[in-house]
Amino acid sequence: MKKTVFLGALAATGLMAGAAAAQTLEDVQSRGTLNCGVTTGLVGFAAPNANGEWEGFDVALCRAVAAAVLGDPTAVEFVPTTGKTRFTALASGEIDMLARNTTWTFSRDNDLKFEFTGINYYDGQGFMVPKGLGVTSAKDLDGATVCVQTGTTTELNLADFFRKNNISYEPVPIETNAEAQQQYLAGACDAYTTDASGLAATRATFEAPADHVILPEIISKEPLGPLVRHGDNEWGDIVRWTLNALIAAEELGVSSANVSDMASAAGDSPEINRLLGTEGNLGEMIGLESDWAVQAISAGGNYGELFEKNIGENTPIGLARGLNAQWTEGGLLYSPPFR
């Protein structure tokens, strides 16, 4: 009996949260700030700098959404979440969106009742080896010792990959990334495997990063993207199309440097005109001002600029675009058309 009452209360709260969630846009606008869930710190993706301002690739997406909705990229309340608290924070309505390098999976989308609104980074599990080993492909790793974090999907992917290729390996179980760095540098394992972006960030901390290579094979799919609650499709659309606007802007050659010029008057390209609101009424359709995309792009730049600034090849992390290049350049980024 007690249990039923408890569950009933839980369901009622859930319903209330659901009812409230259907008007996230109004909530954000009346509050004047966007509550955006980020990590408590991940190199290149989200971390406060020495002045306490949040920076990073995921953070830039929060700022773009805030700029599109509120016209002010600084009107964001960053709510740091850990891997254990992120989903409850979103489900309970504490945050409006979660941009926290979260892998888009079937169960998270359906079972946890969230809606992934796109993919802002295509990650995947890779291998790092010392250059001196002379290995150029993960298939050459026959008989190698591999450092791998226990209890993660990483471990399962690793076993699958080696079995599929019919080669042997010896796992060296480790607990955290910090421990992995020490073990790998001490030579306890020949190779270290985790997500490719994590490998690059780890390599950047080495004394001699150039002595280590990340092998070309990517053995799992880890599409990372922003997500929102089920039940408020208008809000989901805003987050989705803000990300698409950043991607399309790079494809169309609109950057933070030229966006104000291009938006001042209608140009020759109808799609750019529609995107920047000088033609058509896309802003009205999505429930925002006509210059919403201009605001989002001038917040930090288009997708390519954000990538270069936070995790690209000129940063210590030095990630290549790879899968995250535009479809016109052999990558997977493909924004649906703005019309």
Partner: protein
């Protein structure tokens, strides 16, 4: 000695010989060494081994500490300055981020003086409670301190703190007027009076938000070692009285009180602290209506206090159980009522026995405050694990940061333990 035997003994010494220094071969550093360190071949080997271990540790540690780089903007620059294969640590992270480690990354830097002043005042306010020789007049500072500290750390108008203090004072006056007619009447009337004053005070403070106002700083901006200290100090000082009440309640002869206390203590002790923290952070968010934001620090303080008071209650119950039955009977035979016998006879002895246990809980609790980093609060460890190690500049600096954290915690915990030993010596009235 009589003269009759004077001829039977050859010589009688009539004064004591003064103390003589030991012979030259038996003093000095060499003898001390031989006696203590090289008394036989086995100890000699152990001594040499120990010396070697100390040498190895210091030869690694001292160059790291003394040859460290204190001025650089990133780990790469540190390495450049230190040069190839240098052993020096990269302490530049401490000189760049010290303020984040101490105060968290979003506490406004122009307000750093406020928590610092609160810490200094804490020493003044704690002195009369901790040291019997400090003038009793300082107790008034102790009474005002919690309200002053809230005003300093969180800011806002001073009226909030003043009204809260006023409520406590009014409540106490009402209580002391009515307590003659019965404890329960006095107690509940006092609480009611305090609540009325707080309600009125709340309206007044809301109406005049700018009276002597400091910049308001929300709880989520608190962080760093300051957060550990806030949680530690508040929770220890709250859990001690609650623990005493629970321990007495558990021994009560009234079944309801007894069972409430037993269930509370056993439930809390059966649940890990981290679970309670998750409840505070995650589960409560489901039950509160969306939009209400029940202060996270407050939630965490409640949970840690509950946890610590259950443990302290058991420690004090141990002290109560250690007292001989005669102490209770003696108190009763003097005609003291329950409150008097507890206050004058039982508790002073029981608490004295419990000191080591209470200090143990306090030290453990203070270190447990770092667990809040798991529910995404940025205490000292949270700052290190999250923002600082995740910045592109400082990713990879482990020893220096964690060493700094260990150093800060060691200072506080060692201080607490030294104080408790001093207190035990002060109170040592039995013959041990």
């Amino acid at each position: 000695m009589s003269d009759t035997h004077a001829e039977s003994v050859a010589y009688v010494r009539e004064t004591f010989v003064g103390e003589q220094p030991p012979p030259a071969q038996e003093t000095g550093a060499l003898i001390w060494l031989r006696k203590n360190l090289f008394s036989n071949w086995f100890y000699s080997i152990l001594t040499l081994l120990a010396l070697y271990v100390i040498y190895v540790l210091l030869s690694g540690f001292l160059p790291w500490l003394l040859g460290g780089v204190w001025d650089a903007s990133s780990i790469r620059e540190c390495r450049e300055i230190a040069g190839e294969g240098a052993a020096g640590g990269c302490f530049a992270v401490l000189s760049e981020r010290w303020n984040q480690l101490l105060f968290g990354f979003s506490y406004p830097s122009e307000a750093y003086w406020r928590p610092t002043l609160a810490l200094v005042l804490l020493a003044v306010a704690a002195a009369p409670v901790l040291f019997p020789k400090v003038p009793r007049a300082l107790l008034i500072v102790t009474l005002i301190y919690p309200f002053a500290a809230y005003y300093l750390i969180w800011g806002g108008t001073i009226l909030i703190s003043v009204m809260a203090l006023l409520g406590v004072i009014v409540g106490y006056i009402v209580y002391s007027r009515l307590v003659d007619r019965g404890f329960a009447l006095g107690f509940f009337a006092g609480v009611a009076a305090a609540i009325i004053v707080w309600q009125i005070g709340g309206f007044i403070a809301a109406a005049a938000p700018n009276v002597l106002a400091l910049t308001e700083i929300p709880s989520r901006d608190m962080g760093g070692f300051m957060l550990n200290l806030i949680l530690g100090v508040v929770c220890v000082s709250l859990s001690l009285p609650i623990g005493i009440v629970l321990a007495l309640g558990r021994q009560s002869s009234l079944p309801i009180i007894k069972w409430i206390c037993v269930v509370f203590i056993e439930f809390i002790r059966g649940v890990p602290l981290i679970t309670l923290l998750f409840v505070a952070n995650v589960v409560l968010a489901y039950f509160l209506p969306p939009g209400t934001n029940f202060d996270l620090i407050l939630r965490v303080i409640i949970m840690i206090t509950m946890f610590a008071s259950a443990y302290i209650a058991e420690v004090i119950r141990g002290g109560l159980a250690a007292l001989p039955r005669g102490q209770y009977e003696g108190a009763e035979s003097l005609g003291l009522d329950y409150a008097q016998s507890m206050r004058l006879i039982i508790l002073p002895q029981a608490l004295k026995i419990s000191i080591p246990g209470i200090v143990n809980v306090a030290v453990g609790l203070f270190k447990d405050t770092t667990l809040v980093s798991i529910i995404s609060m940025f205490d000292l460890v949270g700052m290190i694990r999250g923002p600082i190690l995740a910045s592109q500049d400082w990713n990879g600096v482990y020893w220096e940061l964690y060493g700094f954290a260990a150093f800060l915690f060691f200072i506080v915990c060692y201080g607490i333990s030294q104080y408790s030993q001093w207190l035990e010596r002060q109170l040592a009235t039995d013959h041990r």
